[in-house]
């Protein structure tokens, strides 16, 4: 994946997720890319397929007690909580920059209650420059709501149905892996009107400081992300992609173009890159370039030829 582009043949990396057109299938994952600005110094954001923002709630939230992160084998746990500036400040202070980035803006939405989800979605729908909403029914780091919404197919469908009815923006349901059967949740949100599903959010995990005999995280448990979880994510994406008609956006431990290809072969139309941004802030761009190289090397005109091309 280190080879430079061989020649400048026209390559089609674009993909569609319902009415959402992306110039390429590589998105920065929620919570790992801030509101974009921090990364503008190290890369050209317009080369990204899109940016998914940190979760936005109705009111500002401070987030969880510290320490909030701990490294684990090939992964990390985070217990950030839903720390964010709230929907009003987001629309006022963060959207102007995001609108100017030249890439798709997908806003990740969270809430404590069904009403909160609906209200945040309503307000965001009035805000110009947003291309799609990702409904986070899967955050493991909040006491109320969060995980609970995404772990039960009926509740998941109810949230998605409710937000669906108040917005024209494409609705992406972000699913939790902490369930017995993710396919049932994916099917339920599809029926409720989701335009796409994205998976996986983090796995619930824990680490203990044996000297102090205390949890490493202020929030006790946290969400596991990074290469460690890639096999779990890939299995779920593969199962979900076979079961639903709507597009599947895959993520979990993607570090390089090879990893992204695995998810796309398994059926993901696009991928999100999370923890990798912390290891190498230009990961997303490297992955875009790596996908271009792969298409050239294999003489393929469009990235769509890869999607779901796994032979089982």
């Amino acid at each position: 994946m280190n080879t430079a582009p061989l020649e400048n043949v026209p390559l089609d990396l674009s993909i569609e997720i319902g009415s959402l057109h992306l110039k390429n299938p590589v998105l920065a994952a929620s919570g790992t890319f801030g509101y974009g600005r921090e990364f503008a110094k190290v890369m050209d954001l317009s080369r990204l397929g899109g940016i998914v923002t940190k979760a936005i709630t109705l009111e500002p939230r401070l987030g969880n007690p510290t320490p909030r992160i701990v490294e684990t084998a090939s992964g990390m746990l985070n217990s950030i909580g839903l720390a964010n500036v709230g929907v009003a400040a987001f629309a006022r202070d963060k959207m102007p920059f995001l609108r100017s980035c030249g890439t798709a803006v997908i806003v990740n939405v969270a809430g404590r209650s069904m009403d909160e989800y609906v209200e945040v979605v309503r307000r965001l729908s009035d805000c110009p420059g947003i291309h799609a909403l990702e409904i986070n029914i899967s955050c493991p780091n909040v006491q109320e709501g969060g995980l609970a919404f995404g772990a039960d197919p009926k509740v998941a469908a109810a949230v998605i149905g409710a937000v669906r009815s108040v917005t024209r923006l494409p609705v992406i349901a972000k699913l939790t892996p902490n369930v017995t059967d993710i396919v049932r949740i994916a099917e339920a949100v599809q029926e409720a009107g989701a335009d796409a599903v994205s998976l996986i959010n983090t796995l619930v995990g824990m680490a203990i400081d044996v000297v102090r005999r205390r949890p490493e995280l202020g929030g006790v448990t946290g969400g596991l992300s990074g290469p460690a979880i890639k096999p779990v994510a890939l299995a779920m994406v593969w199962k979900a992609a076979q079961a639903v008609r709507i597009p599947v956006i895959g993520m979990g431990g993607i570090m390089n173009a090879g990893d992204a290809l695995e998810f796309m072969l398994a059926g993901a139309v696009a991928v999100q890159v999370g923890t990798a941004n912390f290891v190498d802030p230009t990961s997303t761009i490297r992955i875009v370039e790596g996908l271009e190289d792969t298409l050239r090397e294999r003489g393929m005109g469009s990235v769509k030829e890869i999607i779901g091309a796994l032979e089982v």
């Binding site: 890319f33 990364f39 110094k41 401070l62 510290t66 701990v70 090939s74 985070n78 102090r212 912390f278």
Partner: protein, 268 residues
């Protein structure tokens, strides 16, 4: 700030578990300000996965050199200490906020605990241009007292404290602080263990002397994006506190704003 491949120019052990690393990076050397840090990728692969943050200890702008002074405490620093000269090292930086230095000259005080001396040496270079500098350096024993000779030869008045009395005052470095503060100072700059910083902050407040401290926190991105490095600070709006990012609003904080609670004292 951009992502850079640097080259290891030199690495040497200067005390038990303490290493000095010299990196070639003309851009970082040029842009770096005292108090800022670099974020190092220890090795390729996924173990360890995350970068490690280190204060910028010194720079040599002519030679394009950046120095890091670090202590081996775990897997990442152990692996770093074994890197040979000539190896390339992936470095993000300079990151974070600098120590603020006032234009008016006057007497300033540095307080360092252990490896906390690292960023204060760089700060000293700035301070010595217009200030009389006194440094209080503390450690467990004489082995852990670092950089005192070079500070002295640079014109800094140095006082030393060791827990075991093997060099200087026997006891905590903060034992020396009251006398210094009573003599009056324009500003205090401190870096070291959280318990030390808490004492320094409290004494500075009592003496109404402005105090800047450099904090540590576990970091993922180092860029202000993940909110992982949060530290609790006072706020005028309910609930009376908020979080700031050590990598972005810090690592240097005004001591007044930091809340030294249990989580800060026990965690990283």
């Amino acid at each position: 700030m951009i992502d850079t491949k640097t080259t290891i120019l030199h690495q040497e052990q200067i005390a038990p578990q303490i290493f000095r690393l010299r990196l070639l990076s003309p851009r970082i050397a040029r842009e770096a300000r005292p108090g800022q840090f670099v974020h190092l990728r220890i090795r390729e692969g996924t173990d360890p996965l995350l970068r490690r943050p280190f204060s910028i200890h010194r720079v040599n702008r002519e030679r394009g050199e950046v120095q890091v002074l670090y202590q081996v405490v775990g897997q990442g620093t152990r692996l770093l200490s074994r890197k040979p000269v000539g190896e390339r090292l992936d470095v993000l930086g300079p990151l974070g906020h600098r120590f603020e230095v006032s234009e008016e000259g006057g007497g300033v005080l540095l307080v360092a605990g252990g490896i906390g001396i690292a960023p204060l040496v760089f700060l000293c270079e700035d301070l010595l241009r217009g200030h009389a500098v006194t440094a209080l350096i503390g450690a467990r024993s004489r082995d852990g007292i670092l950089c005192h000779d070079s500070l002295r030869s640079g014109g800094v008045t140095v006082h030393i404290a060791t827990d075991d009395g093997s060099l200087g005052h026997r006891g905590l470095v903060t034992d020396l602080l009251n006398a210094q503060l009573e003599a009056g100072r324009e500003a205090v700059y401190a870096c070291g263990p959280v318990a030390m910083l808490r004492t320094v902050s409290a004494l500075c407040r009592a003496h109404r002397i402005s105090c800047q401290i450099s904090l540590e926190s576990r970091m993922a991105c180092g860029l202000g994006a993940c909110l992982g490095c949060a530290v609790k600070v006072r706020s005028s709006v309910p609930p009376g506190y908020e979080y700031k990012r050590v990598c972005k609003e810090g690592p240097v904080f005004d001591a007044e704003e930091v809340i030294f609670d249990e989580n800060l004292l026990s965690g990283h």
